[in-house]
């Protein structure tokens, strides 16, 4: 592979990171962070595993969109504006309902809004849920992710004849800060638990906290994209 390709690959990954640390996707990043972190107590590598699945879900979304655009099944400008307009609007009620579900607000036996768990299809500990969450969150385009993905990554992919690898790297880059922080938190918490002997306490509080974070993120997105109050 040429040096030009490696430069493009690095650009794609870095552009993903830049996208992720901008203020716009903060709400979904916090929701993802809390969801991934809540698995901290379940298994030694659970947070890393869920983080990687979340990253893969994001990457998958960008690869599929890139593929559809290359095959001319989508018009980039129309699709981009459509997703920017409706992505946040659609995500708002989904997050609120998912948060309510996590808090058992529909009753403990309720499975109708099992959006982020997919228990009927899941691997143990809901591996698919993180993948699905990454996929859905990536589709809720912010202005910056739309500008960088459609304006930088896709032209770069076309120029380097890399329609698969560069969107993939971009997707992984957008998840990198969230996964990095989640893994660091997990590591720190395990150390802290080892010292203080509070193992298990985190999980007790993390589960409802994740539900509230989802509700908060959903309400925020609703106020911003549906009601235009923010």
């Amino acid at each position: 592979m040429s040096a030009e390709f490696w430069a493009a690959a690095l650009t794609a990954l870095w552009t993903g990171v830049i996208t992720s640390v901008s203020p716009c996707p903060l709400a979904t990043n916090i929701a993802a962070l809390s969801y991934i972190s809540k698995h901290s107590g379940s298994h030694r590598l659970a947070v890393l595993g869920h983080g990687l699945l979340y990253a893969l879900g994001r990457a998958l979304a960008y690869v599929i969109i890139g593929f559809l655009l290359v095959k001319s099944l989508l018009s980039a400008p129309s699709f981009s504006f459509f997703m920017q307009k409706y992505g946040g609007q659609a995500l708002s009620p989904i997050l609120v309902l998912a948060g309510m579900y996590m808090l058992d607000m529909f009753g403990r036996g309720f499975e109708g809004f099992n959006v982020f768990d997919l228990s009927k299809f899941k691997a143990k500990k809901g591996g698919l849920s993180s993948l699905f969450m990454g996929f859905v969150f990536a589709l809720a385009f912010c202005p910056i992710s739309a500008a960088l993905y459609f304006g930088v990554i896709l032209p770069l992919a076309a120029k380097n004849s890399a329609p698969f690898s560069l969107p993939l790297l971009y997707g992984l880059g957008t998840a990198l800060p969230v996964v990095g922080i989640a893994v660091a938190l997990d590591f720190g918490l395990k150390k802290l638990s080892g010292i203080t002997g509070l193992a298990g306490k985190f999980e007790h509080y993390a589960k409802p906290a994740t539900g509230w974070v989802f509700i908060g993120a959903g309400v925020y997105l609703g106020l911003k994209y549906v009601f235009n109050f923010i």
């Binding site: 203020p23 980039a76 058992d104 539900g211 509700i215």
Partner: protein, 195 residues
């Protein structure tokens, strides 16, 4: 998933919260449906107070661009009378605003107001904010192949649109005001220097 969460919530407060959240979801869905009715999609009340005056000449169809290819300028008629040479620096936005978008708009506006206030050579340069979610402006999305909030410089000879350039790097440079404003200035100059 989780089964032990809202045990600490008082039953009455929990129930009230549950109905409030369900109401929020229901109203959100209702508002989205309402906004997308043909009658009610304007949403102008929420649009930010950007200078949205799209001059008549600016609203004219621009020279159509084929994706990824430079636009060919419309050659002015050889014996046409001298027409005003205007470059419009457009900032295209939507109803939903974000902090980065406001920064791009502010920097672009400032670059035009400070660095290009006196024009460039015999070109007059002006800034215009355009909401592409307004019905009459939707064509700009396809005309300039826009993907997001964008800055585009369009040259006009009188009312005739000539070449244009999309400033793709604005999203990457918005962290540095000085570099951003120089970028807007340099790209505008580059376009105006072209025949």
């Amino acid at each position: 998933m989780q089964k032990n969460s809202s045990e600490n919530t008082a039953p009455g407060a929990g129930k009230a919260l549950k109905y409030i959240l369900i109401a929020f979801v229901a109203v959100s869905v209702g508002v989205v449906i309402y906004k997308n009715q043909p009658c009610c999609s304007g949403d102008k009340a929420q649009a930010a107070p950007v200078e949205a005056a799209v001059a008549t000449e600016a609203a004219q169809p621009v020279v159509k661009a084929e994706a990824k290819t430079p636009v060919k300028a419309v050659k002015p008629a050889a014996k046409a009378p001298v027409e005003a040479k205007i470059a419009v620096v457009y900032y295209f936005y939507t109803n939903t605003r974000c902090s980065s978008c406001k920064t791009i708009e502010a920097y672009t506006r400032e670059a035009v107001a400070t660095k290009l206030a006196a024009g460039y050579k015999d070109w007059k340069v002006e800034f215009k904010g355009v909401n592409v979610e307004d019905k009459e402006n939707e064509h700009f999305v396809q005309d300039y192949w826009l993907n997001s909030k964008s800055v585009v410089v369009q040259k006009f000879a009188g009312k005739k649109p000539l070449k244009w350039a999309k400033l793709d790097k604005v999203w990457q440079l918005l962290g540095d005001k000085f570099v951003f404003m120089n970028y807007v200035y340099d790209e505008t100059k580059k376009l105006l220097d072209e025949k």
